[in-house]
Symmetry: C2
Subunit: 208 residues, 2 copies
């Protein structure tokens, strides 16, 4: 019984992976709008019925594929910023992998909108919101480090503000059909402002 359950779980994980990979490939090559769920089922070599057990709508498939990509980009960003000292350049390096592929900026914008869109009850959106929280935490860590003191003030508001900039700048980059380098330029300017705002936070009086 245990072996049977293990095999079933393994099969499920493999199918989920195939579906996620197929959705990613098709969104990347033909765009989110032009891709149908039937194409994704065919590319993943599963029936349409099976597909719908993993994701009920195309929007959920976008979230599934986007979550995988977001997780990878966050990992690359964390690694890239480890060796950088300047906080603005560290923040820029952290977010750069998300927009490295300018072809996929349209899909990224669609993903971002879906993430912040409505109820967090759906499984893939809940996962996406956890990734957003991880990104905000990574931004907060860089800000706290920049203070270069153990009694740095809480960086949460500054990290949230910079995440908001990131989100709105991605939508603008897509809307105005700009490319990834325009996004990086604008993000760096917003990061400069937020870092300055955070580093001039008045220290709370500490009881001594």
């Amino acid at each position: 019984m245990a072996a049977e359950n293990a095999r079933r779980e393994r099969n499920k994980a493999q199918k989920r992976e195939r579906i996620t990979a197929a959705a990613s490939r098709l969104f990347a090559t033909q765009g989110f709008a032009a891709t149908t769920t039937a194409q994704i089922a065919e590319e993943a070599d599963v029936s349409h019925g099976t597909l719908f057990r993993y994701a009920a709508t195309k929007a959920e498939l976008l979230l599934m594929a986007g979550n995988t990509r977001f997780r990878e980009a966050l990992g690359s960003g964390r690694t890239a910023c480890e060796t950088i000292d300047d906080p603005v350049e560290r923040l820029t390096a952290l977010v750069s992998p998300m927009t490295a592929d300018t072809l996929s900026l349209e899909n990224l914008a669609a993903y971002q909108r879906n993430v912040l869109d409505g109820s967090p009850d759906e499984e893939h959106r809940a996962e996406a919101l956890r990734l957003v929280d991880e990104l905000i935490a990574a931004i907060a860590d860089i800000l706290r480090d920049a203070w270069r003191s153990p009694d740095a003030p809480d960086p949460r508001i500054a990290a949230e503000a910079l995440y908001a900039s990131l989100h709105v700048l991605i939508l603008r980059t897509e809307r105005e059909r700009l490319d990834g380098s325009a996004f990086i330029h604008d993000f760096r300017e917003h990061a400069t402002l937020v870092v300055r705002g955070y580093l001039t936070t008045p220290r709370e009086r500490t009881s001594s």
Copy 2:
């Protein structure tokens, strides 16, 4: 001929106004999701065919109704902040009328998403983007005033960053089913950060 044209234009403007008002009322009382275009046509006393000459989709009707409300809120906000001195309180007073009606926060979030969603080619979205630009300019004016000097640095980045916070905080307030007062509290914290970041902008060297 001139009189005929004038009458036709007047009729058109009246119909547009009736449709906008009908959409606003229905969205406000039953929510965006539950409202149908047929209900809006009936409430506005126009045929479904006529309705579609003014707005082809429910999303466009949301933009039409939202634009009217956004314009009114921007006017109220500008008036409210005239007599306030502190920049953070001025910024909070500027945006407060947009979220004054907590019942409509769901519609505001839907409107905001539609505004930043995709192509700016559609007429009502183009108008909405102009209103966003007006709001960002109003934020920039308050920031520039706060510098209390004729050689204040360019407030554009800070104004954009604060608009981004506004947008993302509205979506979060709706997603987490918070109320308008939670939004105002969070917005004030973001405004405090951005004002501090802006007021510590290094002055450009000026040729003397």
